[in-house]
Subunit: 336 residues, 2 copies
């Protein structure tokens, strides 16, 4: 881990020694005492690498708890690894902090990071700390491994395969709306508990690492749903050269999301394209679906069939209860 | 590479397709069309990983040319790989851009990145684009490889080894001063050309990739000089459990730096601890020095002997022409 120090060790040095060294046990991390780390994929396995950054006021709110920011930053990367069928190996952290951030904040951040590094078996390998002119930037590169040549890709969906998603869709996007607009929960007439559930889904994604291996052995194509089911499925379709038809009534919703939609049906747009789900969408050959659902259930992950892969290139179609295609004004969240 | 798109592909999608896909030829990058990339260290080699971020107004000026910002971001990582004796394999890019950045800026950035990716044999493997609330953030994770177990570390310097540095020291730090304070060049009475040389050294580091393999086979410990020779040597000493004595008169200086120091001798402090050198400092067993210098010279890299490793833990000592230890008020640049 890079650090910049003065005679007695700079703030940055002390910061690393105090908060991040305790997180390190991987031998390749060299105790965060070098400029680089090294890593080795287990014999016969490929290394899978992914990188995702989260920035304050863009991916989280500046006053979100520091430990949750750390966990979200790691989890969005773990979600990518899970969707690729990869087992986590470790991660590099680039942490950009504004001047004057408190030791307490940093301690909480490190604590959150350690909790999830342990929970998901994905140790800190190294990183870089830099100063920003304002706001927190957390960029993580995560490493995983798969048996050689078996990384699940966006490409590979075949006509006739079924489309599945894990967990529930839309909670994160609705949670973000609630977080943005105080009083919205009252307007939606949801309970305090439902409010909390939706906001928590936004703040703390649940990467489906538990079924990464099942995704690898069952899915013909997969990706994580981070920018909206509609837009992410469109990407999977493009990469695979196919289209899909999604039965919107089968898209799995939480009780809280159903309560919101009962009140404001137009929010189905937000559910389908809002993003921040961190679930897995995949195409699965028909013959493999029941086994996948059963084995995933044993890992406490619900797998729902929501549609079918169709021959020919094209945008995904979302069909409502009456058999009509829903026109989505926007398929997914876009930063630009 | 992650992207967020709308019906017809978002700005982010188009941005990636237009500017970054042309950079990709590594098979593991999957044409930037997936959430992850994969990479394999060649047989019998370890993967070396390093990460470094550069931020506008912290590591570069907002009005620096975009192609130079891209090249600096990649080069500071290549410098780390070179100091570890590693051969580049590829890199991941996280690019944070503020709203309203021009297509022209992005095109120039991509052009700079491609130029150096080609020049240093370090292809783009994937990445993430995000929006920032202001300013550009470039975080790069670079991958290299070394024969198994041979990564050069900060630990390993032995009493009696000689201390060497590559190239010249202090130019980047003086260039930064010049960039910060218009009119300073006149005050220092340096020529326009010297002014330009120093500023260029700040804006565009010269990673010593050409001698990475020589560092690996000759150095007992090494690191890149990015935060100041004094502070970086202190880190190498701490990791190795030794001290060093540096003969300041032997620290290699460019003509431009010598001209500045002739006018303002106090700037020796800046030269020794200012940072932004991106040279390599290493300890080398005496028997290996001549061979290293000769082979490095053949690669057009000057290697200068500047001191000796001393038994016992301690801060590095900088000795002037008269044999007196120089008291440095600060060993290196610190962000915090």
């Amino acid at each position: 881990m890079r650090s910049k120090n003065q005679r007695t060790g700079s703030g940055e040095d002390r910061l690393i020694a105090r908060y991040f060294k305790p997180l390190v046990d991987h031998p390749g991390a060299l105790g965060l005492e070098d400029d680089a780390a090294f890593i080795r994929a287990p014999p016969g396995r490929d290394l899978v690498i992914t990188t995702d950054a989260v920035l304050s006021s863009v991916h989280f709110f500046a006053d979100d708890p520091a430990h949750e920011i750390a966990r979200k930053a790691l989890r969005v990367n773990l979600s990518d690894l899970a969707a690729k069928g990869a087992r986590p190996l470790g991660f590099l952290l680039t942490l950009g902090l504004p001047k004057g951030i408190s030791q307490r904040w940093i301690a909480a951040f490190a604590r959150g990071l350690q909790a999830d590094a342990n929970a998901f078996g994905c140790p800190l390998l190294g990183g870089d700390t830099v100063r920003t002119l304002g706001g927190v930037v957390v960029s993580i590169t995560a490493f995983g491994s798969v048996p050689r040549g078996t990384m699940v890709r966006r490409r590979g969906a075949r006509p006739g395969d079924l489309v599945i998603v894990t967990g529930t869709i839309g909670d994160g996007a609705l949670g973000l709306e609630l977080r943005r607009k105080p009083g919205l929960g009252r307007q939606w007439r949801i309970t305090r508990r439902q409010h909390c559930e939706l906001v928590t889904r936004y703040r703390l994604p649940q990467p489906r690492s538990a079924i990464a291996e099942l995704v690898r052995t069952h899915a013909s194509a997969a990706m994580d749903v981070s920018d909206g089911l509609a837009g992410d499925l469109a990407k999977l379709c493009r990469a695979s050269g196919v289209s899909v038809s999604v039965d919107v009534a089968r898209v799995p919703l939480s009780k809280a999301a159903r309560a919101v939609l009962a009140k404001v049906p137009e929010l189905m747009q937000t559910v389908l394209s809002g993003g921040d789900d961190y679930e897995i969408v995949a195409s699965v050959p028909r013959a493999k679906l029941q086994r996948l659902r059963r084995l995933a259930a044993a890992k406490k992950v619900v797998v729902s069939e929501i549609g079918v892969v169709i021959a020919g290139k094209g945008e995904p179609r979302f069909i409502d209860r009456k058999g009509n295609a829903i026109a989505l004004t926007q398929l997914s969240f876009s930063h630009f």
